[in-house]
């Protein structure tokens, strides 16, 4: 007897890609690749998954793209309501707590997404990275990789950002991950994604992300005279006008500068 054909709707899918964020003393960097795939098929070579939320907070979303896009939309809506109620931008630490409650609200039918939130802390102007699991467990960290190539990226960051298994020379102070200059962080970012592109089929096409500079920041800028060597080779940069960012510009925070950075990833 032939078996009856059974149909079942699966509400989830995985769309590949990876995201990465690194916090500095007075800046934060967050980026992801722009490839969107399903199985062995490429659906798009340029689909954003890193989104500005405010003038000093950027959200990267990885996992199931449909859930990710909808989640970002609803976070932005909650932030808009916040500005209407309080006439100011929500600080990044509050955005992090908001994201936790929004994810946990769907505890029994989760958004299948890994979120990484990066930006500048309101009180002390330090670079901040917050990472989340799909149901809202979160933590502030110096750096975090998530997505398909997470297992390729994170141990490299442990070595290069956190100086794991490095011993300072006798008499030297311990290594401090918060002292990395922006130029070093951008090089590590690019090298990480170049490596992941080599070895992971779901990572490739373009690297796109944002650099946020703290208001009190004085040292190496990203554009203008005398800043050659800050940007890795092949990377382009555009300073973002707060008016053009899709954020609550009427009450945009003062002083933080946001830069869009892009780089094409290896083609073979």
């Amino acid at each position: 007897m032939p078996e009856a054909i059974q149909h079942r709707f699966d509400p989830y899918s995985s769309n590949g890609g990876s995201i990465l964020a690194i916090a500095g003393k007075d800046f934060a960097v967050v980026a992801g690749d722009t490839r969107q795939s399903e199985g062995y098929s490429i659906q798009s070579r340029y689909q954003k998954k890193v989104f500005p939320l405010t003038s000093k907070a950027i959200l990267a979303v990885n996992g199931f793209a449909a859930d990710g896009n909808n989640f970002v939309k609803r976070v932005k809506q909650r932030l808009e309501w916040y500005t209407h109620a309080h006439n100011k931008e929500m600080p990044i630490k509050s955005i992090a707590r908001l994201i936790q409650t929004m994810l946990y609200a769907r505890r029994m039918f989760p958004y299948y997404v890994y979120n990484v939130l990066a930006g500048i802390e309101e009180d002390d102007g330090t670079g901040a990275v917050y990472s989340f699991d799909p149901v809202g467990s979160y933590e502030r960290e110096t750096c975090r990789a998530a997505g398909a190539a997470q297992s390729l990226l994170q141990p490299f960051l442990d070595n290069q950002i956190y100086f794991r298994n490095h011993t300072p020379a006798p008499g030297q102070p311990p290594f401090d991950p918060s002292t990395h200059p922006l130029s070093t962080v951008l090089s590590i970012l690019v090298d990480s994604f170049s490596s992941a592109t080599e070895r992971h089929i779901e990572v490739g096409d373009f690297l796109e992300g944002y650099v946020i500079l703290s208001p009190g920041r004085t040292s190496d800028d990203l554009i203008g005279e005398g800043v050659k060597g800050v940007l890795p080779e092949g990377m382009t940069v555009e300073e973002q006008d707060p008016e053009d960012l899709d954020v609550q510009s009427a009450v945009a925070g003062k002083g933080c500068r946001v830069f869009l950075v892009r780089k094409e990833l290896k083609r073979d």
Binding site: A149, S151, L152, L153, Q154, P155, F156, D158, N159, Q160, R164, N165, D191, S192, S195, A196, E198, R199
Partner: protein, 211 residues
């Protein structure tokens, strides 16, 4: 019971340098999450220019090591010379494919420098790895195997560069292995590195996290 490949844990990596090769393994032997031993080396000498790493199912590590010792000793007696890395790779590949439908759960890694011969007076450093049924790959940079494979690929791709001198190659392979096994629950518990040059072998035990 899980897959045999993840029962005992453990990882191996090999890299090429300038007239040298390096091969390294962690030292953990476990029963799934429970650690049993911190001196289980997975890399074995075949002769004084050739090493083989056998990560995977620990009982097969032993079985294969003993089988290979037997085959290489017989080869040495009959041929009255040492086996070359390339020949050894094909011997191991055939051994694995013989068990095509009931394989050894081992992903071997081979590293060595062939002795100069009449046909090949200036031989190049040799590395290769293969899957559980003997499919050989021979890249020019590095090979990895074991439970931390993904992590090893990520770090090695970032740290490795061509033509490293033996001491620089030692640092590169050591940092790669330690960074990778520290993100793998069932690899670690110490590490051992062998750097093979034309005229000597440097073997060092690394101090790593013991958790």
């Amino acid at each position: 019971m899980g897959s045999p490949m993840e029962m005992n844990g453990g990882s191996v990596i090999a890299m090429t340098g300038k007239d040298c090769v390096a091969i390294a393994s962690d030292l953990r032997l476990g029963q799934q999450a429970v650690g049993l031993s911190a001196d289980f080396e997975k890399v074995f000498p075949i002769n004084n220019q050739l090493y083989v790493g056998l990560p995977g199912f620990a009982t097969d590590t032993y079985t294969l090591r003993e089988h290979l010792r037997f085959r290489v000793n017989m080869y040495r007696m009959k041929e009255e010379r040492e086996i070359t890395p390339k020949t050894f790779a094909h011997l191991l590949s055939s051994t694995l494919y013989e068990k095509r439908f009931g394989p050894y759960f081992i992903e071997p890694v081979i590293a060595g420098i062939p002795a100069p011969s009449a046909i090949d007076p200036d031989p190049k450093p040799f590395i290769c790895n293969m899957d559980t049924i003997g499919c050989i790959t021979t890249p020019k940079d590095f090979v990895v195997a074991g439970t931390a494979t993904d992590k090893l690929y990520g770090v090695a791709e970032g740290l490795w560069e061509p033509d490293l001198e033996p001491e620089d190659l030692f640092e590169t392979i050591s940092q790669t292995l330690l960074a990778a096994v520290d993100r793998d629950c069932i690899s670690g518990w110490g590490a051992v590195v062998h750097v093979i040059t034309k005229d000597k072998i440097i073997t060092r035990h690394l101090k790593g996290r013991m958790d």
